[in-house]
Symmetry: C2
Subunit: 355 residues, 2 copies
């Protein structure tokens, strides 16, 4: 198996820690290792480092190389411009094809938390078997609440039972639903969250690009011819700015015919906000999650994420306080999603230095 770790996200909702210059996946938010390092470590018992690829923004390739020196420098693919997951995966598939066009390729995320690494690897093993048969395989997260922030996968007929895992044909992908729809999904028992992780043969996904995104596929063909030659850089620089923005979900998964889903129980979290981070970290005797120095009087259920400052609080409940070297955020946990809007406001008001 080969692995592609996607590490190009922005993690805006984890501002002010997550910044343009060093986003979420490159930070140590959940352990002493960065999320990217965790993602590498998680897969490495299954895939040797020379078969692990990382695709990220060109701006992050140096720091990615520093964080996971075990992965050959040539396996770090830097996009000059992000155009969504479809182009990012398509480009990466070309690199993998040169090693082995019939390889199974696991597309993994660098900015998610996976609590059950063993089970995760077992699932990938099963998924690889299904992918060998030509299916595009997705990992479906068993939902525990009617979240409106995720895409959902509806399962269809059962395809197989592989190494203890059920495999279903995918009936339908649904983008972020409204609350009523999400509730109906949960009740039906036939829906899973789209984890953004996929397993397929390199040849299979390239065939789908050819069929479903022919214009992009033509661009890939041009790039492919130049890979490994003296022209590689020039060709990429010429073609890449013209690639259209597209997600793999919309561009391929929702329209491909042979898609399978494997429901998984891997302790997954997208670490999508400070409120999510609070749930993943151990609380102290007063129900607070504290990183850094905190002195509180009657403060409960809060995430206090400090750096050099001493953070002191009186009577805070269910709040988020994130203190970095140059910026501070104070926000109720239930409004943690709005950090994205705050960052938007920073952008609008020209505070580039804080982005």
């Amino acid at each position: 198996m080969h692995a592609l770790i996607m590490a190009g996200g922005s993690g805006t909702r984890l501002w002010p820690c997550s910044r343009e210059a060093c986003p979420k996946q490159l930070l140590s938010l959940l352990s002493e290792r960065t999320m990217l390092q965790e993602a590498w470590e998680r897969i490495t018992p299954l895939v040797p480092s020379n078969r692990i690829f990382v695709v990220t923004s060109k701006a992050y390739t140096d720091i990615v190389r520093q964080q996971i020196p075990q992965v050959p420098a040539d396996n770090i693919i830097g996009e000059s411009e992000g155009h969504g997951t479809a182009p990012c995966i398509g480009l990466s598939a070309l690199y993998l094809k040169r090693l082995d066009p019939e390889a199974v390729m696991a597309v993994l995320t660098a900015d998610h938390y996976i609590g059950k690494a063993d089970e995760f690897r077992r699932t990938l093993g099963a998924a690889a078997q299904v992918a060998e048969e030509g299916h595009l395989v997705t990992l479906g997260i068993q939902p525990n609440r009617p979240a409106t922030g995720y895409g959902y996968i509806e399962r269809g007929e059962k395809l197989a039972h592989v190494s203890g895992h059920e495999v279903y044909r995918v009936e339908k992908f649904t983008e972020k639903p409204d609350l009523t729809t999400a509730q109906a999904f949960i009740e039906s028992g036939r829906y899973y969250w789209n984890s953004g992780m996929f397993i397929w043969k390199v040849s299979a996904i390239l065939r789908e690009f050819e069929k479903l995104m022919p214009q992009f596929y033509a661009q890939l063909i041009e790039i492919d011819a130049a890979l490994g030659t003296a022209e590689e850089r020039a060709v990429l620089e010429r073609i890449w700015p013209w690639v259209e923005k597209e997600t793999i979900d919309y561009g391929i998964m929702e329209r491909a015919e042979d898609v399978a889903v494997i429901p998984v129980d891997i302790g997954w979290s997208d670490v999508g906000s400070w409120a999510t981070l609070f749930e993943l970290l151990p609380t102290d005797g007063e129900g607070n999650v504290v990183v850094g120095q905190h002195i509180g009087l009657g403060t409960r259920g809060c995430l206090i994420h400090g750096s050099h400052h001493l953070v002191t609080t009186i009577g805070l409940e269910d709040m988020i306080v994130v203190d970095t070297e140059d910026a501070l955020l104070v926000c109720p946990k239930e409004r943690a999603q709005e950090v994205r809007d705050l960052v938007e406001k920073l952008k609008e008001s020209g505070r580039e230095e804080y982005l």
Copy 2:
């Protein structure tokens, strides 16, 4: 008239701005000038700087001299140890006596806000006339709520009407009352808050020390003999550590016979907490008081007091956020009094560097 500005307070409830090394009265919290500078400027149309004395902790004499260079350096009295307002005033009275024992002396505070400086000076003029007759005069603040944090002065018979000001005999001083008592005080219409500002003849207050605090008076006599001689410093160093702690209210005012109160309307505030500061400063369009840089989403009625950091908030209501170079405080406005307990907790946990 001579003036004595007391500038030795600690301003603990304004932590983390107010620190042991530079407390409230030496900070610019309400204007571009420090509170001490405001106090000096307020009195200077009435009292020339060479008749203004400042008593403070020895640790602050240098910074006091820097802040108000107009006041002769010899007029800055530094206590090696603070023993409360009675010893502080007694010692200062000795210095004033050497200039003029029959002088009227206005004891003023450096850490209070006075919104109506003209009216304040008019009141002092009237108070000086009353003091000339030998009375100990206090300024009584018309209470606007049943505060439990102040001492109250009950007025007795009317003594005079001087330059548009009523003058009453003081019936009784009451230390910080409970809420029920405070409510009854307010309803009676005969009670005023004790402003901690007094006007009396130097000779009159020294007579009261002799009568009501004879042991301390004996110490004063010893010091007095040494003042201005080569022995001054040695005598002070020998005697001062043995002086007993006492407030002027309890030591003198509550027990003196000839005390008068002049009710005043001078826009007074003790600036006792961050919540009080909020009330004194202008709010922006969203009802927030902002010092420094703030970006908020739906934040209302908050005091945001930043320094170098950018402070960002989402959906905060009636909160206090104070950000200094090394420490941060987040606290609901209604619990602003508890900052004192927080500082106590810092002390107990050995965080000396933050005090």
